[in-house]
């Protein structure tokens, strides 16, 4: 069923009791052309673009839990593409372009709200880096503006630009096309659209082994039995090392907790996204009125989906300096997700030393914004058995050649 105002009206007549399920829950087939391990946003987008762009529909997405139960539903939903380096700007802006047409493309409202993203500068180094990044973005066709402190105040009136602050706001970069999107709609929307094109989405199906024959992948072992496959794609974020190890591949990623938190719902006070790498917090307001906040990773390796309280304390301190108005807002809940961080803070979308095995990981703290572009480029890589020019620089062998894409400290927010 196509979602539209007419389908809402039609279903209203039957008291909304006859909406069809959004995707099937089929039994696994004995064999697929492509198995995607990991039913997060990136995995589901990969399956969708395999079907849509490459006509490969004999595809299964294997998810050990449920859709929207991992990082897809744990992030702070920020979407932007104002990265410094050419390679990053290209793939993140491809992603943003896909975001801009996504609701129509998959017939599912992902509630993209291009409300503008501010990246604050608090010292002379930040200012120079910010202006440089604005210029680099414009050369790459990515919209970017530099605002001075008064411009920041005009764009976000509740922000404190006092010169007396410990880290005063000296200016900010602004990407007007940036904003937020509804995170679980992205998972559900891609799942529904992929399912409609014939993709099997298998939840509660944990991969326990990757089968190989003479350096070529032949299938996977799962908690629901052995499934054969011509190609297997790993898209498992925080568990990338664990799954890659099933095929004896060592990965250059480390898994860390990344925490986020929301406040009680309040009236609309902030209609943009504010990020600060220096005092280390980012803030936006959800449609329900909650302030959504996040910051950097906990320092230690973890698979525990929770972090240390002092990290939250630190980011709330930063938040209150920027927004004294929030001093009496109560925080409602906090949580953690496990993100896999690369040494150069750039992702890996790549073939592997095993024939027919592909990996998409290392998105670290910034994977949500990349969901459509990541899936699009990864689908191309799987279908053609070679990377698209957008993701060729993000190959696994860059750690051998030394051609790193060093976004640490360059990506507008500390990691």
């Amino acid at each position: 069923m196509k979602y539209s105002i007419f389908s809402i009206a039609r279903n209203a007549l039957t008291h909304h009791k006859n909406w069809p399920q959004q995707w099937r829950s089929p039994e696994p087939k004995p064999e697929y052309d492509v198995i995607v391990i990991g039913g997060g946003g990136h995995g589901l987008a990969t399956a969708y673009y395999l079907a849509k762009e490459h006509g490969i529909t004999n595809v299964a997405v294997l998810e050990k839990g449920w859709l929207g139960g991992g990082n897809t539903a744990r992030n702070t939903t920020i979407v932007r593409s104002n990265y410094l380096w050419d390679e990053s700007a290209a793939i993140y802006d491809k992603s943003l372009q896909l975001w801009e047409g996504l609701s129509q493309d998959i017939n599912y409202n992902v509630m993209l709200s291009q409300r503008g993203v501010l990246n604050l500068a608090h010292n002379l180094g930040d200012v120079r880096e910010g202006v440089r990044r604005v210029n680099a973005n414009r050369l790459n066709g990515v919209d970017a503006e530099w605002l001075d402190a008064d411009g920041v105040k005009e764009f976000c009136p509740i922000i404190n630009i006092s010169k007396e602050a410990r880290h005063p706001v000296l200016g900010a970069t602004l990407q007007r096309r940036g904003g937020v999107a509804r995170h679980d709609s992205v998972a559900w929307g891609y799942a529904r659209a992929a399912d409609a094109r014939g993709v099997d989405i298998l939840q509660n199906c944990e991969v326990t082994g990757i089968l190989r024959d003479g350096g070529k992948v032949t299938g996977v072992q799962t908690s629901r039995g052995t499934i054969k496959a011509k190609k297997v794609a790993i898209v498992t974020a925080g568990h990338s090392s664990v799954v890659a190890a099933m095929a004896d591949i060592r990965m250059p990623v480390e898994s860390h907790p990344l925490q986020a938190l929301v406040s009680e719902p309040i009236k609309p006070v902030i209609d943009c996204v504010v990020m600060s790498g220096a005092v280390h917090v980012y803030v936006s307001q959800s449609d329900k009125g909650e302030l959504v906040m996040g910051a950097g990773v906990d320092s230690y390796n973890s698979y525990g989906q929770r972090g240390s309280f002092h990290v939250i304390e630190h980011q709330l301190g930063a938040c209150l300096e920027l927004f004294p108005i929030f001093s009496r807002v109560r925080m409602m809940r906090s949580w953690g997700g496990i993100v896999d961080v690369c040494p150069d803070a750039s992702p890996i979308i790549s073939k592997t030393p095993v024939d027919g095995l592909y990996v998409n990981c290392g998105w670290g703290t910034g994977g949500f914004k990349a969901t459509p572009g990541s899936g699009w480029a990864f689908a191309h890589t799987i279908a053609r058995d070679e990377p698209h020019k957008l993701n060729a620089p993000f190959s696994l062998d860059r750690f051998t050649t030394g051609a790193l894409i060093d976004e640490h400290g360059a990506a507008a927010v500390a990691h």
Partner: protein
Amino acid sequence: MLNIECPWCGERHETEFHYGGEAHIARPESPEALSDEEWADFLFMRKNSKGLFFERWCHSNGCRRWFNVARNTVTHEIVAVYKMGEKPPSLVKGGKS
């Protein structure tokens, strides 16, 4: 918040420490003799274990000395603390490495 037992200062809060990542990665004796793959393996590839993990911490706001910790990366339980240069203890609890 982790409570970490510094071998010299005793138990302190995590905020006094800095993390040093995976332990027991020995710098190759003769780096110039390595292939690019071997060098990349030393420089970038990590175990990133789920379960028991051997890692380094520095008591940077205390005695400023480095030491090793055996910790479970799922439960965050610290199962052993031992000094730099010592071999990792053989542990039965804390899961597989």
